[in-house]
């Protein structure tokens, strides 16, 4: 097993270097996904299956999809966006400066790491072992899986903030999207964004996989209270189902409706209600009433799963895409009075 671990660690480093060194963006994205899968395997070898699940689903899966999607948008606009095609002669002195700066950054980062490692070694052993503390108190947490107990009871504040960060991300995403759609010519994108009919084989596979993915998501959510699993992993599975459906051109969450907005906020909303309501009786923020922990955790996790799934999916679907007729759009702000004549000509 030692050789396997060694190969895994080396593979991780090589994949990470490959991501940064590759000239081709597509290759970099593929290597990034490979890196995510290797990292998931590493977590598994470190006996952290919860992290492995999250890394595989979110780190490799959803992030990979988002990156590939972005790359697709880049490719459509290769002429006007491609940063590397501006083939000026490399400015040698500038490159030297960049190299020196990178070297300084590397040395200081290495120094910082060495310093913190040195300090960690000097530190006295912690007074209490966190694992035993969690195990001693797990009976009060309402769930029997340690990780879930930490995430949704002992340190639920962190989870609340994490989900809030996701919500902020999608709010900004939708906001940007709305700005782009209102500024672009709505009728011209309708025709352009219409994709060709998906192959029947893909649609039938999607039909087969959708219910399976949803069942697996519910299983992972339910398993969270006793085994590795939980809201984030289940949410990622739901998002994956949504992305697949989108690829099979089944419209899910395609428009920002009130129902979608409700779904996006549901998790944080319910979490906050559960967190705040004990304060009415004078107890601190985020204490569950005794005897209700398990039920409330399951309720929060269920709502979080819906919201996380929708948020991750919406990041994919609602992400602001540059519109197809980019040269025309660029021309409008560049030439003030001519823009009027341009528009007139189009109509």
């Amino acid at each position: 097993m030692m050789w396997f671990d060694l190969a895994l660690g080396l593979g991780l480093i090589i994949a990470a270097i490959g991501v940064f060194r590759s000239e081709d963006l597509f290759r970099a994205v593929v290597l990034f996904v490979t890196f995510g899968i290797l990292l998931a395997l590493t977590w598994l070898r470190l006996q952290a299956p919860d992290l492995a699940l999250a890394e595989a689903a979110i780190g490799a899966g959803i992030t990979g999809v988002l990156l590939l999607d972005t790359l697709g948008v880049f490719r459509q606009h290769e002429q006007d966006i491609n940063p590397r095609s501006s083939s000026q002669l490399p400015d040698i002195s500038r490159q030297w400066a960049a190299n020196v700066l990178a070297l300084i950054a590397c040395i200081s980062a290495a120094g910082l790491l060495a310093w913190s490692l040195f300090n960690t070694l000097k530190m006295p052993a912690p007074h209490h072992n966190l694992v035993t503390v969690v195990e001693a108190n797990i009976a009060y947490s309402g769930v029997s899986h340690g990780i879930t107990a930490v995430l949704l009871n002992f340190r639920s504040y962190d989870t609340l903030l994490e989900v809030a960060v996701l919500l902020v991300a999608i709010v900004i995403g939708i906001g940007l999207r709305e700005r782009v759609t209102t500024s672009a010519n709505a009728t011209s994108d309708e025709g352009q964004s219409k994709l060709s009919e998906p192959p029947a084989l893909l649609t039938s596979l999607v039909r087969l996989l959708l219910p399976l993915l949803l069942i697996t998501a519910i299983f992972v959510l339910w398993a969270g209270s006793t085994r590795p699993g939980g809201a984030f992993q289940a949410g990622a599975l739901i998002a994956a189902a949504g992305v697949l459906a989108r690829l099979g051109q089944i419209d899910i969450a395609a428009r920002v409706t009130t129902i979608l907005r409700l779904g996006l906020t549901l998790g944080v909303f319910i979490f906050l209600i559960v967190a705040v309501s004990p304060m009415l009786t004078g107890k601190p923020f985020l204490t569950y009433p005794a005897g209700w922990e398990g039920t409330l955790i399951l309720l929060i996790e269920f709502m979080l799963t819906i919201s996380i799934g929708l948020i991750l999916l919406s990041l994919f679907i609602q992400a602001p895409r540059p519109r197809i007729p980019a040269p025309v759009r660029n021309a409008i702000p560049a030439t003030g009075p001519n823009a009027e004549t341009n528009k007139g000509g189009d109509q």
């Binding site: 192959p199 084989l201 596979l205 996989l209 399976l212």
Partner: protein, 102 residues
């Protein structure tokens, strides 16, 4: 070493060989279609042999079923994605040819 162990080792080794051959094919074959051929061989046969080799190590019927479901799902996904890649490739090369003629 029991007969069962020999059987398992044999099947898993054959599966790994298919993966190796598939990888070599992916690296060495000249174009998209032949590369897909190599890759799907690895997914279908290689994984199939490994799954068969692993089945005797499972303790419950549910675990065996899960392994087989994994294999069937990967089979479906890999064949459909191979089809999609091939389809896109043929479409692209046709477009290129049309463009060339015009």
């Amino acid at each position: 070493m029991t007969l069962l162990n020999i059987f398992q080792t044999l099947f898993i080794t054959i599966g790994c060989l298919f993966f190796l051959i598939g990888t070599i094919g992916l690296l060495r074959f000249p174009d998209v279609l032949t590369r897909i051929h190599a890759l799907t061989k690895a997914d279908n046969l290689g994984l199939g042999f490994i799954v068969i080799g692993l089945i005797p190590s499972m303790s419950t019927a549910a675990d065996i079923a899960k392994l087989i479901v994994c294999w069937v799902l990967i089979l479906a996904a890999s064949s459909v994605s191979a089809f999609l890649v091939a389809n896109q490739h043929i479409k692209k090369s046709k477009e290129f040819k049309d463009h060339d003629v015009v």
